[in-house]
Symmetry: C2
Subunit: 274 residues, 2 copies
């Protein structure tokens, strides 16, 4: 392994600037975010995300994923710094980052940039507050082969370090864009999508929908529901057989995505038969 | 509202003992746990959980659920204390507890106590580490009408305050018991369950299973998988269409539970047709 510049003091200016990225305000100011973890960082690199710095601590690289990243480290073209355990823990802020933390410039995509395949399933996210939920939704969307995730009037940043972490870094490989809800609504209309809204009190069950046509699934916050803009969407609910009246939004997301995927895999005919 | 004993100092002995329950060691020693939140506490009360103390702060009761609980407070037979905001925040430890925190003795059930309906779907949890994941699994199990959750050699306590919170208090209404994996394995055999194990690398897809017969779904940790005891279980995987090789265990749980429930709702014939 080549020699990399070493940082042993948490008071180093670069470290101080990076630590600030744990706070939203500073992410906005610096236009950068933190990527915790070897797997997450690998996915960002594979997706050609613009990474400005990588900090690594060899003593903490103990997972197979971090060892793999360590083997490739000589080939990296971004700035790489070897940091002491003390500095790393200061940077990691309690995250299990497995010896690797990156600083990256989050990609910004518009609706017009989205490349949508035939018979797509896209997910519209509106008003989800917890970064962990947002990241978990993207991870399940990745798993189920969702074509794109569109953030509509979405305040919580999908490139928040906690969202990146909960997504296992799939926020970097997934097609993601941000737009105003109104714009998204028009775009779906123009593109001819069937629009399904997850709603706790909807009469129709999610299993009654045919997902083999181009479909958008809208997920809103649990507390206030979806904004009025989606009133023409077809509301569907997930049947609740217990004492609680709703699933966690990321659990709902996984159930909806995989029902859609189950139907797509079977083909449209099988859905009509069952 | 009746007058309740007031506590205004965080150094009160009862408060000090309750705060200690945030730590596992002290939950073990005291044999008690904390319930954060009005909805969670309501569900514990409805399930006849043994609650030793309730602490409430009227100024922080601002959700419909906490107001409802406040209206019933005169009828409570357990010890109720009105606490200052300062004391409440000390107790709440950053949790959004909506003005209500309870201290409870977690129920302990054996396998033999489980009441299982006809054609049950039970969930076996082994080795899940994060309380949040464990609670989320119980919440989805409640939603999907799962008959019981069995903790097999499970180290993380389902009555950990964070697990209670993530379950929205459904840990109190769900049939839950703890046992050794070996004992659970024998019990399932004796009862004639079909045993399905979620496994990342399994060849069979979860949708190929007929869940309309008595079924146990085994969920293990993502890192080390299931213990050898489950080698006779039928491994099934959830197809992964993206870059990640697994879903979060609580997302997997929701997908499996709701596929089972979808089939049960359709009846066994529809499954065979599709």
């Amino acid at each position: 392994m080549a020699d990399f510049p070493a940082i042993t003091s948490p008071r180093n200016e670069k470290i101080k600037a990076a630590v600030k990225l744990r706070r939203r305000k500073h992410r906005g100011r610096q236009g950068r975010t933190l990527i915790d973890g070897a797997r997450e960082l690998s996915r960002a690199i594979a997706a050609n995300i613009q990474i400005t710095e990588i900090y690594f601590c060899p003593a903490l690289c103990q997972t197979s994923e971090s060892c793999r990243l360590l083997e490739q480290i000589d080939e990296f073209t971004m700035d790489v710094y070897e940091v002491s355990e003390n500095v790393f823990e200061h940077l990691a802020f309690g995250e299990r980052a497995e010896g690797f933390i990156g600083v990256a410039i989050p990609p910004k995509n518009d609706l017009d940039d989205l490349e949508i395949p035939q018979n797509p399933l896209v997910v519209i996210v509106e008003g989800i507050e917890k970064p962990g939920n947002l990241g978990a939704i993207v991870r399940s969307a990745d798993g189920a082969g969702v074509s794109a995730v569109i953030l509509a009037d979405q305040k919580t940043d999908v490139f928040n370090p906690n969202a990146i972490r909960a997504s296992l870094g799939t926020v970097f490989s997934m097609s993601i864009c941000s737009a105003e809800s109104k714009e998204v609504c028009n775009w779906l209309k123009v593109k001819g999508f069937q629009v399904i809204a997850a709603a706790v009190d909807a009469k129709d069950s999610y299993v009654e929908v045919d997902y083999t046509v181009p479909t958008a699934i809208i997920l809103g916050t649990e507390s206030t529901g979806l904004s009025g803009i989606w009133k023409t969407a077809h509301p569907v609910s997930i049947p609740m057989y217990g004492v609680a009246d709703s699933l966690n939004v990321s659990a709902s997301a996984a159930v909806l995505f995989y029902e859609a995927q189950r139907q797509k895999a079977l083909g449209s005919q099988a859905h009509l038969v069952s």
